[in-house]
Amino acid sequence: MTWYLVRRTGLLVLSLAAAGVLVFTLLRLLPGDVAATIGGLRAEPERLAAIRADLGLDRPLVEQYASWLAGVARGDLGRSQLNGSSVGAELGRKLQVTGPLAAGGVVVALVVAVPLGTWAALRSRTAVGTGISALAQVGVAVPTLWLGLVLVLVFSVRLGWLPAQGFPVDGWADPGAAARALVLPCVALGLTEGAVLLRFVRSAVVGVLHADHLRTARATGLTRGRALWRHGFRNAALPVVSVLGLQLAALLVGAVVVERVFALPGVGSMLVADVGNRDLVKVQGEVFLLVAVVLVIGFLVDVAHRLIDPRLREPR
């Protein structure tokens, strides 16, 4: 186990380093630079060169990379080249919007997918089951953008129940207002995710229903539902959770669209704006942290698997 931990940690560090290089190099391919954003259309070439020199953009790329890496190693993601704000602090603020948005989206997705998916699996040969499956197919096919627009028109403009856009100026100071601002975005994000997930839940449950141990359980006199509840869910949950994990990275694109439709100041909108302004130190800090979070979650899940699942342990 110790040897495994050492090896897995080494792999994590290597992956993080690779991610750093990848992010840094990819961003350097972008045409244009932050000097053009600062100087604007009036700036003469000499002025742009002076701005670059001020920001240290005229140093060799390797040197820029090294100094950035040294900062990251110290836990310092650097500062915006445009306005000097701390990248870490800025990310923290935006995560207060995007974090709850993504989490809320996943909750909505699970609330939709698990009961409906299970139900559809249990009634797979009836009209109800087919109906649910059909609904899921349609749900997958509806663009998030569309869903968001319709939700706003119905629940904000027509009914006036929830705010149409934006996030409170003072953030979570008033938790009620902040939560209300996130309801529609979470639903828009979660329904599509939920529709994708529903299909996996359904097929996972169908698979488990035909598994031997469940047949045995039913032979002991349990109903199908109870047998599933007692013995099947844990097995069905594994593939569903791994699909959910895969969706996490894809969630960002969805989150950006939702943040745009609802004008939320989240990580996604920030990333798009920063790429547009070529505030590259900020972009690489943001992307690196996002990638790192996913990698670390993957690491923790792997280690947890190893600890829980006896089949994966090395023979002693």
Partner: protein, 514 residues
């Protein structure tokens, strides 16, 4: 066959959406109000109100001295920072006094004397003196200045303060643009010794509002300056909400999240034509400019450029974006040297073909347009259709704005380009030798220099008219339209700026009814 039930389900979902969203018929902008209601007396106003204003572009920094972008001017100029002079866009761009209560020019036009207002203070409490003005202008004129607008002041020889309330600006040569330039961002007065890098996220001006907070990616809050020397603002707070998406902005305005929506999409004004809102229309300086790369064949031939100008029906383009004014040159009607030049190379597909044939392209031409992706895609489609009638095959290449900056603006690697030249009074671009238009005309340059050092405004205006006419006759570029800006105002909100709202947005008259 059970599964086929899924197909109608998709259609039903679509139909449900139709029912839920409702239908509206005409989306053309309804009646636009001719003016605003007069602001009621103070006892009927809520002097503690917070006004919420939708804006589009967020500043990238608050450093008004060193960072470009109209978004900074919009929120900071006149509100937080002030210059010696200002401009009133709602009064035909009249130059009005601000920190200077009066100014005089010597008969030879080489010395300007400004008399400062009394009682002006910076937000940190320091009184403003002539030394601050001298210092601020010297930051612009210093060699290698980092000021974005430093080039505006290259005629200044020296700035002195004979006493704490008087500033004297001496020029090397006459400069008819000086007062205008002083009224822009370059003339802003900072506290002597300000470290501009410290202004990235903070502010220390003399204006009627102080900067209360910047929630990056969302809002900027301004608060009434209780120590302001003049009439105090009629609202306690103004929050600028940066909402780029036009639909989200519309919804915010419809549901009362914002009181004022600037830059409303003219094709989406339908919800505001009923009761409860007023729609105001104002002019802008946004000249949508179709540039030709005049250094590259075949665009070095004026006939080819003129053929393209004739091929485009500007009314179709305006129809595609919803609203706009035809200008026919680089000068908007509010400039004193405006002249209606829309008659030169007006829409005439047959004439365009003739010109093309004369230029050696009887069988037409294939050209590529590079356009930043921030503009409506429909403009490109209208251009494709228009040019096709004249035998020109147009390919539209959409690029990110930064890509446009480096490929087109810097490297001049393009055939046609479309971009909004938003800066006011920017005829000078047609006289810059290395500019991306690639247009060079010695006579134009001479006229323009003459206008700058003219003895009177009338002489200046006459020369600039000649410049505008010449660049139009030469088809140095094509001007598709001058943008119009629409502001939606909630009932009970008064004193809203109407014209050129993206360049400066003076909030001092903004008021909210009780």
């Amino acid at each position: 066959m059970r599964r086929l039930a899924r197909i109608p389900a998709a259609l039903i979902a679509a139909a449900l959406c139709t029912a839920a969203c409702g239908t509206g018929d005409a989306v053309d902008p309804g009646p636009v109000a001719s003016g605003q209601e007069a602001t009621p007396p103070d006892d009927r106003l809520d002097l503690d109100a917070t006004a919420n204003v939708r804006a589009v572009l967020e500043p990238t920094s608050l450093n008004l001295f060193g960072t470009a972008g109209a978004a900074l001017d919009q929120v900071l100029l006149d509100n937080v920072y002030e210059g010696l002079l200002s401009v009133d866009p709602d009064d035909g761009d009249r130059i009005v006094p601000r920190l200077a209560e009066s100014h005089t020019a010597s008969p030879d036009g080489l010395t300007y004397t400004f008399r400062l207002v009394s009682g002006a203070r910076f937000h940190d409490g320091t009184p403003l003196t002539a030394a601050d003005v001298v210092w601020s202008l010297e930051q612009q004129t210093a060699p290698g200045s980092k000021g974005v607008y430093a080039a505006d002041f290259d005629a200044i020889a020296s700035v002195t303060a004979p006493d704490p309330a008087t500033v004297v600006v001496s020029l090397r040569q006459r400069d008819t643009f000086l007062l205008w330039n002083l009224a822009q961002r370059g003339g802003v007065v900072y506290r002597r010794g300000t470290d501009f890098a410290s202004l990235d996220g903070a502010a220390n001006g003399t204006g009627p509002f102080t900067l209360a907070g910047w929630n990056r990616g969302a809002t900027i809050t301004l608060r009434r300056n209780p120590d302001y020397r003049g009439a105090r603002p009629k609202v306690a707070q103004v929050v600028f909400h940066y909402i780029p998406d036009p639909n989200a902005a519309d919804n915010a305005q419809r549901t009362g999240q914002t009181d004022v929506q600037t830059a409303a999409d003219p094709t989406l004004l339908r919800p505001f034509t009923g009761g409860g809102f007023t729609v105001l229309r104002g002019t802008t300086t946004d000249k949508y400019t179709l540039a030709f790369n005049a250094t590259r064949a075949p665009f070095d031939d004026p006939d080819v450029r003129r053929a393209i100008r004739r091929a485009i029906d500007k009314r179709d383009v305006v129809g595609a974006v919803g609203a706009g004014t035809l200008i026919g040159s680089a000068v908007p009607p509010q400039d004193p040297w405006y002249e209606d030049l829309t008659g030169i190379d007006a829409h005439d597909p047959g004439g365009a073909r003739e010109l093309l044939a004369r230029a050696g392209f009887p069988d037409g031409l294939a050209v590529t347009l590079t356009v930043p992706s921030i503009y409506p895609r429909s403009i490109g489609d209208v251009l494709v259709s228009n040019l096709k009638e004249a035998g020109i095959t147009l390919t539209v290449r959409q690029v990110e704005f930064q890509t446009w900056l480096s490929r087109v603006y810097r490297d001049k690697d393009f055939e046609l380009s479309l971009v909004d030249h938003a800066e006011p009074r920017d005829l000078v671009n047609f006289t810059k030798p290395g500019y991306y238009f690639g247009y060079a005309d010695e006579q134009v340059r001479e006229w323009f220099a003459g206008a700058r050092s003219a003895a009177s405004d009338a002489e200046r205006d006459g020369l600039l008219k000649k410049v505008a006419r010449r660049i139009t006759e030469d088809a140095a570029a094509d001007w598709l339209f001058l943008n119009q800006t629409h502001t939606v105002v909630r009932e009970g909100v008064y004193g809203v700026p109407v014209a050129q709202t993206s360049n400066r947005y003076d909030l001092s008259a903004l008021a909210v009814a009780r």
